[in-house]
Symmetry: C2
């Protein structure tokens, strides 16, 4: 069985055992079974707990040997001293995929943790068994309403495959859900980032791979796999533990070696992996790849409500490796006709003065401006800087976004929006599934810059 096939048991389990299932329920009980029932997972679930007959109406088994079938996946959440014993039971029963949630193995500061880890390693060696963790939230799959996390997972059926070394990603960020499918490799005693990459490489539900990595043990294999997969699907990476003190913290978090940051940087970039710097940049890039098309170049046309913010847009584009498009004479001519004679029409295009003389609603002016920029062969993408000064603004702009995506499917259109109704307009526009809305110029330009970089990499091949 190949790696991708083996990983299916973790990512798409049809039956699971929860070993160490909790009897306490409700807030603060971190009950995996309760969570699963809440998501609506349709596979078979077998809680194992010697002190209960049923939990939440689900029949409970006192030990692994009693389970009525060989489950796809065993989720182990027990005090660390008990884990090796249970691993042995699972192996003996022929269970070939185990997620060990418990902490305090390779990540521990004591000898006992390392000893217990070695015991587990010996138990599974040569038995065709894959172990995820320890110290992990496990896996999640929005398409199956499945998550092994003891904290409720925020899932959405996005084409995102997330690989991470902390379960925090499963909890979500405000409105943002990144799963898709997710795997927290934790201490990565066996299943590691490279294995997960091989799964997502094959997985048809995954279009974008999000990779949070602190360090890897087998650097050579990781690089081989990551370079191969990056050629097929965009990989957005957040490599953490950059400095010496952060690297020390990595060691105590997952027992991994962070490695020299410059080495990572060169390796990732030359493999075509998109490296991001912060969690917002990471999430922004992932969503940009989900929604925006590949770009043919780096030349951005900017429309703005205010000259001052247009300039900030230019600053941001240049900071993020984009270029300010030089508009074709035809575009300048057309836009000049809509503007007062004293305005030097150019890029960024200030739509306010034109609106003031025409008396058109601003979104109509915006629409005309975006249409001209998209039609210009010297423009590869459009950044719209817009004020959300009234709540229903997005109804007018939605049509524009949809039309742009139809007429120029190869040119992304993104927004920087300010003003009191930011949240409403953002939600309305992003609901088209065709654009992304940002609250900072840098975030907008960086997301676009990442798309441009991957597009360039993909084109060169």
């Amino acid at each position: 069985m190949g790696t991708a096939e083996q990983l299916k048991q973790f990512m798409e389990p049809q039956s699971i055992a929860i070993i160490g299932a909790s009897r306490s329920t409700g807030e603060g009980s971190y009950n995996v079974l309760e969570n699963l029932l809440g998501y609506g997972y349709q596979g078979k679930v077998y809680p194992v707990n010697p002190n209960a007959n049923e939990i939440l109406g689900v029949k409970t088994y006192s030990k692994v040997g009693e389970l009525p079938e060989r489950v796809d996946l065993a989720i182990v959440s027990l005090p660390r001293s008990l884990v090796p014993g249970v691993v042995k039971e699972c192996v003996d029963e022929g269970i070939s995929a185990m997620t060990i949630v418990t902490q305090g193995f390779g990540d521990a500061d004591d000898d006992e943790g390392k000893r217990l880890q070695e015991e587990i390693d010996r138990l599974v060696e040569g038995r065709g068994v894959r172990v995820l963790g320890p110290n992990t939230f496990g896996t999640a799959n929005a398409h199956m309403n499945f998550s092994s996390s003891f904290i409720k997972t925020k899932m959405a059926e996005l084409p995102v495959g997330l690989i991470c070394q902390t379960g925090a990603f499963f909890v979500g960020f405000g409105d943002l859900k990144l799963l898709g499918k997710g795997v927290d490799v934790g201490d990565a005693c066996d299943v590691d980032a490279a294995d997960a990459l091989e799964y997502f490489e094959q997985d048809e539900e995954t279009k974008v791979i999000a990779l949070h990595v602190e360090g890897v043990r087998d650097g050579r294999r990781f690089l081989r796999v990551v370079s191969r997969v990056a050629k097929k699907k965009p990989i957005v990476a957040l490599k953490t533990g950059r400095s010496k003190s952060a690297a020390r913290a990595v060691q105590s978090h997952t027992g991994a070696l962070a490695g020299r940051d410059e080495v990572w940087d060169t390796a990732l970039r030359s493999s075509g992996v998109i490296r991001t710097t912060d969690i917002e940049d990471f999430c922004d890039a992932i969503m940009a790849f989900c929604v925006l098309p590949r770009m043919r170049g780096r030349r951005v046309g900017i429309t703005t409500y205010t000259g001052g913010f247009g300039i900030m847009g230019v600053d941001a584009c240049e900071r993020c490796g984009l270029e300010l498009a030089e508009l074709s004479p035809a575009t300048v001519g057309g836009l000049s006709a809509l503007s007062p004679p004293w305005l030097a029409v150019g890029n960024p295009l200030d739509i306010w003065p034109g609106n003031m003389i025409s008396g058109h609603p601003l979104s109509q002016m915006e629409e005309a401006a975006v249409r001209s920029l998209l039609a210009d062969p010297k423009v590869d993408a459009v950044l719209c800087i817009f004020a959300a000064y009234k709540p229903a603004l997005h109804f007018e702009l939605r049509r524009m976004v949809e039309e742009a995506a139809e007429s120029h499917p190869e040119k992304p259109v993104v927004f920087y929006i300010y003003g009191p109704f930011y949240e409403e307009v953002k939600k309305g526009l992003e609901a088209t599934g065709r654009t992304r809305v940002f609250s900072s110029f840098d975030r907008a330009a960086c997301a676009l810059g990442h798309v441009a970089s991957y597009s360039e990499f993909a084109l060169k091949r």
Copy 2:
């Protein structure tokens, strides 16, 4: 009359004339009078419009000469060709402060704009008259419910004095209101950033100065003033128009010269001005200075819910010029007692394992951790990384924040928060007026880094 005194007429007008007051009202009418009535401005308002007897129930005058008193401030919003005539009328009537809203003067691409500007310059020369603009939203003062902006201004009685070269700041950013008091210098034909700095230097309602600048004409005076004022109050700057193409856009926006970015950078830094890079960084820093105390050093203690995010916190701190605090043995000892024996207690401090063994609610564990870090003389500030996994979380954390501010008023405590209830928890915690909550590690660390930089500058003096 000194500059600060002259500027009072713009910032704290007791009586105003709106010259070119609009008769149309309701959405999209950009009616200054309507806005003022909405804010509840208590000063006298005289609309001037020869085609109306009253607007919104307010008596209207047909020309400046008919006004019943010499107003503090005339707000001029007329087609540009009519502006010099009105300026003459104002000067003749002894009005000594004028805000010219109209665009198309120094900012225009044609000779006519420059000619009209020169005419205005000649009319006011030697008459003791100050002109704000043209091409400006004018001034706003939340403490008086006053704004001359034709777009509704988002104001809050913050101790922030904003100087900008685009009215966009008056519109606000999502939940964020930055005024305070604000002045958009526009083309800055007369009143410029240096003048505004002199006003805020004296103004007792202003504790933090926010300075958005594209360029200045009198660089020498600007630098003299900015270095003097920075010694008294923190100045947070957003200098835009960094690159060549952005500088060209500046020229066409406000007619200003952007200047070489490296020169600006050195000048601002050596003056003790805090330079920010993007609009979010700018807003974050302003609010941080409003709320957080000065720091005694750069050493940060981090508490975290998850090792993985703790490492991101370390990365961000180092990127933003902060240091990871080395905890005192007493602190490590105390915290070890709360954690499982296998955990290497250090900084960042992972509170999750300790919570798992103690069974304490997480915020109780967090409270103990923050208290220990604050008590450590080797810690100058605390960054708390926390999951907003339930909505009412902030009630429990609020007390912690308030207690921290009481017991250690010299040590800022800030939060990076993730999870589904981010917005609620952010609002709840920030309502204490003692902390700031961020959605990215970089934003949290950069805001703290700015406070540290200014604290260092202020201490050295």
